[in-house]
């Protein structure tokens, strides 16, 4: 366990060394949030609420969805693909840790860094510019914390899955890029899932993507209340467990058919 904690710490410190890059990142996210803020205001027009969300809740949703993205987002799929292509992964196999777990911990170190130096200051800045409503209820904040941790886990698992696919496809830049687009759309980052037509919502209920952005954002904006919150967290938890299976299966198969292309 100690070695994994150390990995989180090292990655955190590594990110800290390049922290100035992040100030401009906050500006970029604010620009994005701003674009959606005006767009949603126009969409709402005079309407009080759409699908149970008021316009202020919607603004809050957009802001928190982008800021939470900074926490769960990581590039470990790209890193894994790179290490497989360069053959470095062969060395990783003989080291005394689980490679995928190590990658997850690095992602977590990055996430914690971004949460403290990007999301929190970013959220404060954004809330000064746009009308955003923060919940006063302690329980909402607690549920939100649990939800973004689970969203990190699910997103990371999907990244691991895409990364490990490199063992089979050798070059999967296209897949990684396609995955990113799919996640932006189906995770609820751009649009709350409840805005989709009914049939699409039914399909998405059977996919893990809404665990990434929709659920934490809905909890934060109090779009989910009462038992819906518990159901949503259960949904995340179930997917976090289910996704372990394909990852482990692919990992075992990949280890058997490992071809090192260099290194």
């Amino acid at each position: 366990m100690g070695k994994y904690l150390e990995m989180i710490r090292v990655r955190f410190l590594m990110m800290l060394a390049y922290r100035t890059n992040y100030y401009s990142g906050i500006l970029i996210y604010s620009i994005n949030i701003g674009a959606y803020y005006f767009l949603w205001n126009a969409i709402y027009g005079g309407k009080g609420e759409i699908e149970g969300l008021s316009v202020i809740q919607m603004t809050t949703y957009v802001a928190v969805a982008w800021m939470a993205r900074a926490f769960y987002f990581n590039n470990i799929d790209r890193e894994i693909a790179q290490e497989i292509k360069e053959g470095k992964v062969a060395v990783e196999f003989i080291r005394p840790y689980h490679y995928l777990l190590m990658k997850t911990m690095q992602g977590l170190g990055e996430g914690i860094f971004r949460l403290s130096f990007f999301s929190i200051p970013g959220m404060i800045i954004v809330s000064l510019i746009f009308p955003i409503e923060f919940s006063a209820a302690f329980s909402t904040w607690m549920f939100f914390m649990v939800a973004i941790i689970l969203s990190f886990i699910v997103n990371t698992q999907i990244n691991l899955l895409t990364g490990v696919m490199t063992f089979f496809f050798f070059n999967n830049d296209g897949l990684i890029r396609a995955k990113r687009v799919v996640i932006d759309l189906f995770s609820g980052l751009l649009l709350p899932i409840s805005f989709y037509p009914g049939w699409a919502q039914n399909v998405m209920d059977f996919l893990p993507f809404q665990a990434i952005s929709y659920i934490p954002s809905m909890i934060f904006t109090e779009g989910f209340t009462g038992s819906a919150v518990w159901e949503a967290i259960l949904f995340q938890l179930v997917w976090a467990v289910i996704l372990i299976l394909p990852i482990q299966a692919l990992w075992v198969i990949a280890k058997k058919r490992l071809i090192v292309q260099g290194g």
Partner: protein, 261 residues
């Protein structure tokens, strides 16, 4: 024409290198298509909940998006020099460019072109035909010519902004993230400017004129006469911005000191 023949030589060379990795190129085009589809899906889903966006209908918004794709594709194919600072200034590649007897910007454009982006022209036209037929838009004989000027105007607006930003590197080679920021600001131009407040509208019209890439020129084809003045300014804005960018670039090149090694 020396420049034309150099251009085609580069294109031929480019095709050869790209066609060696066909699957990779196909994947790239596919992921571009997917990206464009996501934006369309966004518009479609949003209009499941509203009929009008500040007085613009769903098909009009789709038309604007379709139009936007065309100049954006041309920009992406030739002027997408977002990594200029890192590639040419920090790594000193600019030294090599300057020793050759062709204009430096022209060479860089040739080296950095990504012709597969041009696929977006087809997507854009397809989207416009779809939206246009639902809106019963009629075409006059001169409309294709107007379209050409509007598209070039829009592409040159984009190109001008990015060349100006690239020129900054001649004075300061520190890494900035202005470039990715511009892509995000560019997205504002895809929607009617009347949804934004006055300040943003002013910026999108006169300072970072992204509105001339999407909504203003589209207004002409949509027959929105209240915007005709802005629509016909599109080629002018393109020429002015592009001309100014080249001017600043030429000054910048004289300030280039080389990275040394």
């Amino acid at each position: 024409m020396k420049h034309t023949s150099i251009f085609f030589l580069y294109v031929a060379q480019y095709m050869k290198t790209r066609l060696t990795y066909r699957v990779d190129m196909l994947m790239e085009i596919m992921s571009d298509l997917l990206f464009q589809a996501v934006n369309l899906i966004f518009i479609l889903v949003v209009f499941g909940h509203t009929n009008m966006l500040s007085g613009w209908s769903k098909d009009e918004i789709i038309f604007i998006y379709g139009f936007f794709l065309v100049p954006f594709a041309i920009f992406g194919a030739f002027f997408n020099i977002w990594d200029f600072n890192e590639r040419y200034i920090v790594k000193g590649e600019m030294d090599r460019i300057l020793t050759r007897p062709v204009h430096s910007l022209f060479q860089i454009i040739l080296e950095r072109m990504e012709l597969e982006s041009l696929f977006g022209v087809l997507t854009g036209i397809a989207v416009m035909i779809y939206a246009g037929s639902r809106l019963d838009l009629s075409l006059s004989w001169y409309d294709p010519i107007v379209f050409l000027f509007m598209v070039l105007g829009g592409a040159f607006v984009y190109a001008g902004i990015f060349i100006l930003l690239a020129s900054i590197s001649f004075w300061s080679d520190s890494r900035t993230s202005i470039m990715p920021m511009m892509y995000n600001i560019g997205n504002y131009g895809r929607y009617p400017v009347d949804i934004y407040n006055k300040v943003i509208r002013f910026v999108l019209t006169w300072i970072l004129p992204f509105a001339f890439v999407g909504v203003y020129p589209s207004a002409y084809f949509l027959g929105r006469e209240e915007w005709y003045g802005y629509a016909f300014l599109t080629p002018v804005m393109g020429a002015v911005f592009f001309g100014f960018a080249i001017f600043m670039w030429n000054i910048g090149v004289t300030k280039y000191r080389g990275a040394g090694n």
